[in-house]
Amino acid sequence: MLLEVRGVSKFYPGVKALKGVDFNIDAGEVVAVVGENGAGKSTLMKIIAGAIQPNQGELLVDNEPVSFSGPLEAQSRGICTIYQELMIVPELSVVENVFLGHLKERRGFLNWPVMRKEAQAILDRLGLTASLDAKAGDLSVAEQQLIEIAKSLSRKSRLLIMDEPTASLSKEEVANLFELVRSLKADGIAVVLITHHLHEIFEICDRLIVLRDGEYVGASNIKDIDEAGLVEMMLGHKVETEDDSRHRAAIGDEIVLHAKDLTRSPYLDNINLTLRRGEVLGIAGLMGAGRTELVRAIYGADLLDSGELSINGKLTYVGSPRAALDHGLGLAPEDRKIQGLVLSMSIGQNTTLPSLASHGGTLGINLAKENRAAEELCKRLFVKYADINHAVGTLSGGNQQKVVLAKLLGAGTDIYLLDEPTRGIDIGAKEAIFDLIWDLTAQGNSVIIISSVIEELIRVCDRIMCLHLGRVTQTYDRGDFDLSRIMLNAMGKTSEDIEAVQ
């Protein structure tokens, strides 16, 4: 057995993050670690990678017990991790990134010829065509990820841990990545895959293990389980089937948001959109289609070159996020850690961030009132926390996302702009967010939602707008939704193109 984990547990003050988990993987295997946010996947992976030490249990590499003092020791045994947040140094060249941390020397000087030769060989094998001297920061996310993989291959890694590797990749890039995983597998490299996308598990993995609340739930061969069974294992109960009646009912005639010829070169090119009261409008598009730029421009976070915006029928200039909030617009930004949350502050203080002024007494902020408001908001969104005064950074990803949404609820928003609200969060949290969206629209609010997962948009939206390179290619009403057509539109095909092919 390449790696065996026996009964490991990890405690943090007040929390048991992992309770007696077993795990093993052999050369040439691809094993998925599945579970909701906060299930303990990251903790288990960090223990394997040597980033943290378990309180109990043992690790065996090649059937001999090991105890890693840090990631370097794990790497020296051939275990490498590719984190969701890529560890690329954007200012350095491709070859420097590949050999980051283990530059090759000869007599005290860097041996560039050997490094370049080795790096080129690895890049060729990975099918990365970028130049060795290109700045890593100039490459696409998919290419940067390949550099990460190259980095671990250059360390002669035998076990690759990939944490949500497909989170920011396009369909095509995902296919390429999986092709690569298959070839690594053929070379005897073991891969541990953490993903929220169930279909990926069935496409690429041999086996899976399921964690729930830090406990080992079970393992299965892929061929012995189906999607419904897997979801049941993850949640511990069956998922309810979809209730379509929740759609449409809420939509009124009144247009709450009307955007005309929004242009911000080079991201947005004459975009028009309307949003009705109670409507959920989805925006489909690839990375770089201008989705994020569109909602940021509406929110006043970036300034437009030209175009008009009417809110509730009145022509309005939204010059700053403050102005947007004053007009009832709220944005849940794409990257919650960078744009959405102040990680050093408490859960409660983050929740009340945009609405703080309303918790003031005559002598300043009423802390008790603020805390109650925060608790109320968090309860409405089922945020799971030990203490509302703990730093928000201690929450799992899904719960952090809920805090971002709770912030908006408290701000008295009636037009919600949600940029990738479901990225990197588990099924349970996703359902909670969909429920929230339906509740909001039932109460007369309107929602614009961006998602890379078109199935999700189809599930939750009343209308879907397809965006490609800053232009609207097509808009669909509920009832006309068609996964493959939406996908083609998002990839830049017009409907005429599609008709022509068919």
Binding site: Q53, S67, S69, Y299, A301, S320, P321, R322, A324, L325, D326, L331, P333, I338, Q339, G340, L341, V342, L343, S344, M345, Q349, L353, P354, L356, A357, G360, L363, G364, I365, L367, K407, A411
Partner: protein
């Protein structure tokens, strides 16, 4: 209580240090000496308090020492011809203006705070030197002013009393006002603060203005004590002592984290060390070295969570070897 000590380790350090110094030098804990320490520490304390605001807001202010000098020569110089109250107002206003200028250049042009305030540090010092012709100014100051330095109220020296008062106001401001909270938000995550509708530029300018004001106020206290103003040597190096005091008190140089209580303790710790070393006749070189070591230990313990965690890790690695 353990939670309290984990949150405020500097209070433990302060008390332990006082007891150790008291044990080593019998005069240390005498009332006269303690009041001396308070007097001296409160001068740096005002500056450190301003620095605490700027650091929490994610900035850095190196111009504080120069502002102290400018304030001291303005007060001493203007009092030669005008009522001292005029000079005091001009000096405090000048401090605020320097702060607003710092904040403006940092926010409007997105310049690095360290560069902006290194520039203003040089410019302000230059103005102070030009104004005083680089000579000490012995103004005709009224005796009431000296009460600011030598007076005793409620058994506390007036400078210390004023410093504690300033700390109390600052602590309440940071905890209970919208603007105070916004300083933490801007320092903790500027982009998130902006998207949450906060006027980031305004918040930052306010922190620099507070820093400028408090530095000018320290200049006033200095004039009261020295009965003169001086531009060349006054406040040199205070910016670093102020940052050290804030850092010992747990203020993060990355922004978003820090407390007034911590800064107060940091200023007292530095003041106490200087005083005790003098009493014990420790060589001044050694004083600098020890201050440096204390700072390093303090920052190391904060950045690794807390000291206990660090010791645990140390023990853990020993067991393994």
């Amino acid at each position: 209580m353990t939670g309290f000590f984990r949150t405020y380790p500097f209070i433990v350090v302060l008390v332990v240090m006082a007891l150790v110094f008291g044990f080593l030098s019998p005069t240390f804990l005498e009332a006269g000496n303690l009041s001396n320490i308070l007097k001296q520490a409160s001068l740096l304390g005002f500056v450190a308090l301003g620095t605490c605001f700027v650091l929490i807001g994610g900035g850095l202010d190196l111009s504080v020492g120069s502002v102290v000098a400018l304030s001291s020569v303005l007060i001493a110089g203007l009092s030669a011809t005008l009522p001292p109250i005029v000079g005091i107002h001009v000096a405090l206003l000048a401090g605020i203006l320097v702060g607003v200028a710092n904040g403006y250049f940092v926010t409007a042009f997105n310049f690095q705070p360290i560069i902006v305030t290194i520039s203003s540090m040089a410019i302000v010092r230059g103005i102070a030197m030009a104004y005083s012709d680089s000579r000490p100014i012995f103004g005709t100051l009224p005796d009431e002013l000296f009460l600011l330095a030598d007076g005793v109220v409620f058994g506390l020296p007036v400078p210390a009393l004023l410093f504690f008062l300033a700390c109390a106001i600052a602590a309440l401001f940071l905890r209970y006002t919208n603007l105070g909270r916004q300083i933490y938000q801007v320092g903790g995550n500027e982009e998130a603060a902006r998207l949450a509708g906060i006027n980031v530029a305004r918040v930052k300018i306010v922190t620099y203005a507070i820093s400028g004001f408090l530095s000018a106020f320290a200049g006033l206290m200095l004039v009261a004590r020295m009965q003169s103003g001086e531009a060349v040597r006054t406040g040199v190096g205070w910016e670093l002592d102020a940052i050290a005091a804030a850092a010992i008190g747990g203020v993060s140089l990355m922004g978003g984290i820090g407390t007034v209580v911590g800064t107060l303790c940091g200023a007292l710790i530095i003041g106490m060390m200087a005083n005790a070393f003098n009493l014990l006749g420790v060589n001044p070189y050694w004083q600098r070295i020890v201050i440096g070591i204390v700072l390093a230990i303090a920052v190391a313990s904060y950045s690794s969570g807390n000291l206990r965690e660090m010791l645990k890790r140390l023990r853990f690695s020993k067991q393994r070897n």
